[in-house]
């Protein structure tokens, strides 16, 4: 740390609060910082400039890009994504991303600049009440009132963000704090008596769950993202295979169990498979591991697993019994609970008929699609993406039809390779998330599947992939429409396509090229395989504008208000 303060004669050098922040980040093991400068964080950017800290700063072109990139980074690395933005508009530009991270339990530590403590509350230039604004959308938030608190707060923030049920933590740093000089070494020990997540399951509840399994004739596992956060995929696989339990995933849980394993029924929920949804409907024991019974999963609650005893393993007690009444609650880290279950002697009755029935459903009612006379079939396109990347890519998506097709047609055999915005359904997420994912996993193929609508919300981040030569492959599933909106209008609003079909779209090739990024257009199925192969092998970023048939809909579908067994668009 090169600090220009020659007055420091004492043992410790006199440094600024900003220098101290950088030191603390280095100690916390931060290697990537996603940010954007401005007045209130000038001291921090100056400290960064002067420092030889071994982390990269990734300059986005809009703070929303920073926070989504940090989410993508967190999703694939399991580490906290770190964001830095200035006060006022810089901070408010982060709101969508912070909310997204809160909904999908992603660990983020977000630093915002703030006006000086002395003027907080006076509507000073670029002041915003970021504490008030972010209270409902963070796991916790801090405003630093004294420099001496700063290192401890930063440590606490990382601890809170990454433990228990992960989530975003905001640290608001007034400018006078980052400018203040000090040579003192501050206390960093912390004590959070009100925050002690339970990780070990209550043994009695494990016994109950084991007993329930011992009596079940139609057991089913529903695995969510909690399995990913607790790194419990190996234990889950062992448990599922030991008792030959049929299993389904939530949208966010994809990859927690191998997608090509015969016991896997596909994704459940609004656009889940017939086999998975009917499995839930008919099960007599549903074991939810790390999912929150979101309404896009359950459909009409009245018809959700009507005959099942429900067991729910979750590290967040407040999720248990929130939407679905639970017979066997288990508050625990998924990995700990699965380990205990693996240690239990369970005398599983034979459930061959059940397994066969589900297998038969899986075979008889597969996902299907039609080949359009013109342009590409989007589902077929996603199948090619899957094939050509050998099922080994990290896939990020935006929100809409293309997201559901990616979830349906890309089978993830490994965890933490699927990055999507589930809870908030944030358009604009997919592309910047791919940037963060690529930075977190530099040697992996990262494919960003986006819609022509959502890509335009954050396309300016093309600057980053050019600047850093990040070999992200952007696959635009271009239907020249807000496809998912168009589909709902077709199905539920009598084909009144109100503001959902674009009259104009940019030339995405030229757009990419204007940023220095290679752009390719595909509008014939014959060109798909060779072009994708070429693009995926290319050592640099590529934007591939894939023209797909606009009228294609996502099926099956549980229409709003309907039960999980009332899917439309199911075909033999």
């Amino acid at each position: 740390m090169k600090v220009e303060n020659h007055a420091a004669e004492s043992a410790n050098k006199t440094i600024t609060g900003a220098d101290l922040l950088i030191e603390t980040l280095v100690e916390a093991g931060v290697d990537t910082l996603f940010g954007y400068p401005g007045g209130a964080v000038l001291p921090i950017y100056d400290a960064m400039y002067r420092s030889d800290a071994p982390f990269k700063h990734i300059l986005s072109r809009h703070e929303q890009g920073s926070v989504h990139a940090a989410e993508g980074y967190a999703r694939v690395t399991g580490k906290a994504g770190v964001v830095l933005a200035t006060s006022g508009p810089g901070a408010t530009n982060l709101i969508t991303g912070i909310t997204d991270a809160m909904m999908d339990s992603l660990p983020l530590v977000v630093f915002t600049g703030q006006v000086a403590n002395q003027v907080i509350g006076t509507d000073a230039f670029q002041e915003s009440d970021i504490m008030g604004i972010t209270t409902p959308i963070t796991k916790y938030n801090y405003q630093v009132k004294k420099l001496s608190d700063l290192p401890r707060i930063v440590k606490e923030a990382f601890h809170i963000a990454t433990t228990g049920r992960p989530g975003p933590v905001v640290v608001d740093i007034p400018k006078n704090i980052s400018q203040e000089l000090s040579a003192e070494k501050f206390e960093t020990e912390f004590h959070l008596p009100g925050y002690q997540p339970t990780t070990k399951p209550n043994p009695l509840q494990i016994v109950k769950l084991a007993e329930a399994l011992g009596r079940a004739k139609k057991p089913l596992i529903l695995a969510g993202a909690g399995v990913l956060f607790s790194e419990a995929s190996a234990e889950l696989k062992e448990f599922v295979e030991k008792y030959e339990l049929p299993i389904t995933n939530t949208l966010l849980g994809l990859g927690s169990f191998p997608g090509t394993n015969p016991l896997f029924l596909g994704m459940a929920g609004m656009h889940g498979t017939y086999a998975a949804n009917m499995g839930i409907y008919e099960s007599d024991l549903l074991i939810n591991i790390g999912a929150r019974f979101d309404d896009r999963l359950t459909g009409n609650l009245e018809h959700f697993a009507p005959n099942a005893r429900v067991a729910h393993i979750d590290i967040d007690p407040a999720e248990i019994g929130k939407n679905i009444s639970t017979d066997i609650p288990v508050v625990a880290d998924a990995k700990e609970a699965l380990k205990e279950l693996l240690n239990s002697e369970i005398d599983m009755p034979e459930h061959q008929a059940w397994k066969e029935k589900l297998q038969q459903n899986k075979k008889e009612y597969p996902l299907w699609y039609e080949s359009p006379s013109d342009l590409l079939s989007p589902q077929w396109l996603l199948e090619q993406v899957y094939q050509i990347s050998n099922g080994e890519a990290i896939v990020t998506t935006d929100v809409g039809q293309h997201q559901m097709w990616a979830a349906q047609f890309y089978n993830f055999d490994k965890p933490n390779r699927w990055v999507t915005s589930g809870g908030l359904g944030t358009m604009g997420f997919g592309f910047p998330a791919a940037i963060g994912a690529q930075l977190g996993a530099p040697d992996d193929l990262v494919v960003s599947v986006v819609g022509d609508g959502g890509f335009q919300m954050t396309a300016h981040e093309l600057s980053i992939i050019y600047e850093r030569n990040l070999p992200v492959k952007v696959v635009i599933v271009n239907n020249n429409a807000l496809g998912m909106v168009r589909q709902w209008q077709e199905s539920f609003y009598d084909k009144r396509y109100s503001e959902s079909v674009f009259s104009t779209n940019p030339d995405f090739i030229k757009l990419a090229e204007s940023y220095g990024v290679r752009g390719i257009k595909i509008d014939r199925e014959d060109d798909v395989v060779s072009t994708l192969k070429d693009a995926f092998a290319y050592n640099g970023p590529v934007v591939i504008d894939c023209r797909v048939a606009q009228e294609t809909c996502v099926y099956p579908m549980i229409a709003p208000g309907k039960g999980i067994h009332e899917m439309i668009g199911v075909k033999k």
């Binding site: 504490m131 209270t135 409902p136 009100g194 209550n202 407040a318």
Partner: protein, 171 residues
């Protein structure tokens, strides 16, 4: 059903905002909240009187409160041996004739007159919320000019009758 919930919380910046924001966001119906210091420095005590529709909602409420990082302990003390008190200040229309009559009305409530003017009396009453309600009702006939209530504050009695603790939401 009406429940009385107490919480001990760490006195960190924004804690009240965080808790009331959560209650608002999750649509809990709060009748009153009272907050103040406790016997331990840095720790505050909150008392909530809530109207919840069923046990499931109640369970959610206590869990969501417990989930807050600053919250140390949450108890539903409704069915326990406890003391719950509220203070109200009531300004009633009055005059020389009525004054004695009003004094007579408030006497059984052990309320006191703490301010007198030519056309009003201000009465202070402390007690269980239903006692406070009853007095307010009685004084209504004279015309209430102003009313301020603190909301209920409560805690457990020193001695609890012996019953086996049934924790309804054991997990």
């Amino acid at each position: 059903m009406k429940r009385i919930i107490t919480a001990t919380v760490q006195d960190r910046a924004g804690v009240l905002n965080r808790i009331t924001g959560m209650l608002y966001k999750r649509q809990f119906n709060i009748e009153s909240i009272s907050v103040g210091g406790s016997e331990v420095k840095g720790i505050s005590k909150m008392t909530f009187v809530v109207e919840v529709s069923d046990d499931q909602k109640l369970e959610q409420l206590t869990k969501q409160l417990n989930k807050q990082i600053d919250v140390l302990k949450v108890s539903d003390i409704t069915d326990k041996a406890m003391v719950a008190r509220e203070l109200a200040l009531i300004k009633v229309a009055s005059n020389a004739h009525l004054s004695a009559e009003i004094q007579g009305v408030i006497a059984p409530f052990r309320a006191s007159v703490i301010d007198v003017s030519k056309d009003s009396l201000t009465i202070q009453v402390t007690g269980k919320p239903d006692k406070v309600d009853a007095l307010i009702n009685l004084l209504g006939t004279y015309g209430i000019k102003e009313l301020a209530r603190t909301g209920t504050t409560a805690f457990l009695r020193g001695q609890q009758p012996h019953v086996t603790e049934i924790s309804s939401f054991s997990v």
